[in-house]
Symmetry: none
Subunit: 232 residues, 2 copies
DNA sequence: CCGCGTCTTTACGCCGCCTTTATGCGGGCG
DNA sequence: CGCCCGCATAAAGGCGGCGTAAAGACGCGG
């Protein structure tokens, strides 16, 4: 009586035996697995089929899997669970700070992996189930967090670079009229490793204000603290 | 000092050395740790202080920590990271399925734990915005501690510098009609190193009273002691 | 392999905030 | 009555943060 389609899980790994092992196991657990052997293929599949969760190997033939995480994050909020044979602490920290939700070492116990998948889906589901309108308006500006677009006075969507968009989104998510600290912004856009680089903020806030044009006043500086989004 | 309160992290563990180790480490990482040694105390603290995240040991003197997770979930959505010496797969599965967000085995690497804390806070923070009602009114003045704004007679928010705001916030947080000593104010705004510089207070109280205009009388001098916030 | 866009980094002027000093005022106390 | 301490206010100077520009590094796509 599956009234709801089983959640898709994208498995990105270049070892065939992993797919042979995980594929049936995931199916038995009630998921619909999709397989990819390279980073490029994984990103393409993730973009086309929007899986509910991504299992990601770090050692891929076409590059370090960590680099895939920020790219995934550009178009999906699906939780990413890193599966890797690398057990160095630095790898785990780097992966988690890159945006991964969990890190499981190979070889892994299947039961634990499934439990971690359930936990990640539970946490992500609670977040995405928000019926809150993802379109936020303030003054002449209209930001669609789901669609990753922003328009001023109903004109064409602004052409924003990834960093510019992330910064605007972080400000908007803070809530209208609420201060978002420099720390928070730097963590959200550049990651916890760059909490000190306040200059990034000045540069990119400048870019944003320029592109916002008439709506530039919506980003207000709170000297020594951070920035505030909203009219008035 | 800190314009925005650091996230509180509740550490529930009965081993004192864990607190001795984690307390300073969490502080250094920019969090405000709270400690509890039993499940009952942990639940009480979590209810009273609503921490941003809970670090939970499984082996507590007054019961299995797993039982605490559903109870926590009744009044908070804060992520729960289980810290345990038990490495059996069944324990991990049970904890995660009980509602935990992550499971870290003791002994753990501090860097990894901090990274997992960041990941959990990141995922949880995207969803829940703590709508802490923090508006305090007194006479013609209205201070919103969460929004970091202050208005007089419903007019435009006052334009306050960081020091001015910190000082006003420290006064308001003291409670209406309560004296806040010079020591307390200096510590809160300028840090413990400037406990002697009472002149700072005179200068900045002056600035504040000037900007408050009609509400200037709300800051009353208590000669030789400190200042008092409130009407009458 | 090359060109282009984006990100990072550096440099610089400027404004505003913080700190510090000076001065006046008022009350307590000898 | 005069002294002194604490409070209030004004003003000056240094300095750091902010905004802007621009160049080099980097990665991506053709």
């Amino acid at each position: 009586m599956s009234a709801v389609a089983p959640p898709h899980i994208l498995v990105v790994d270049d070892e065939p035996q992993i797919h042979r092992f995980l594929g049936p196991a995931l199916e038995a657990a009630g998921y619909a697995p999709m397989r990819a052997a390279t980073m490029a293929e994984g990103l393409r599949l993730a973009a086309e089929r929007s899986p509910a969760l991504v299992l990601l190997d770090l050692g891929l033939p076409d590059g370090d899997g960590k680099l895939a995480i920020p790219k995934l994050r550009r178009f999906t909020d699906a939780p990413v669970v890193v599966l890797s044979a690398r057990d160095q602490e630095a790898e785990k920290v780097a992966s988690l700070d890159a945006g991964a939700d969990d890190y499981v070492e190979k070889p892994f116990a299947l039961g634990e992996l499934l439990a971690r998948i359930r936990a990640a889906l539970r946490r992500a589901g609670a977040a995405s189930r928000s019926p809150t309108e993802t379109v936020i308006r303030a003054g002449a500006l209209e930001v669609d967090l789901g669609r990753r677009t922003a328009r001023v006075e109903g004109r064409e969507p602004l052409k924003l670079t990834p960093r510019e968009w992330d910064l605007l989104a972080a400000l908007v998510r803070g809530g209208e009229g609420r201060v978002v600290t420099q720390r928070q912004l730097l963590t959200a856009v550049w990651g916890p490793a760059h909490v000190e680089d306040a200059q990034y903020l000045r540069v990119y806030v400048g870019h944003l204000r320029q592109k916002l044009g008439p709506a530039a006043g919506l980003i207000r500086t709170e000297p020594g603290v951070g920035y505030r989004f909203g009219a008035e």
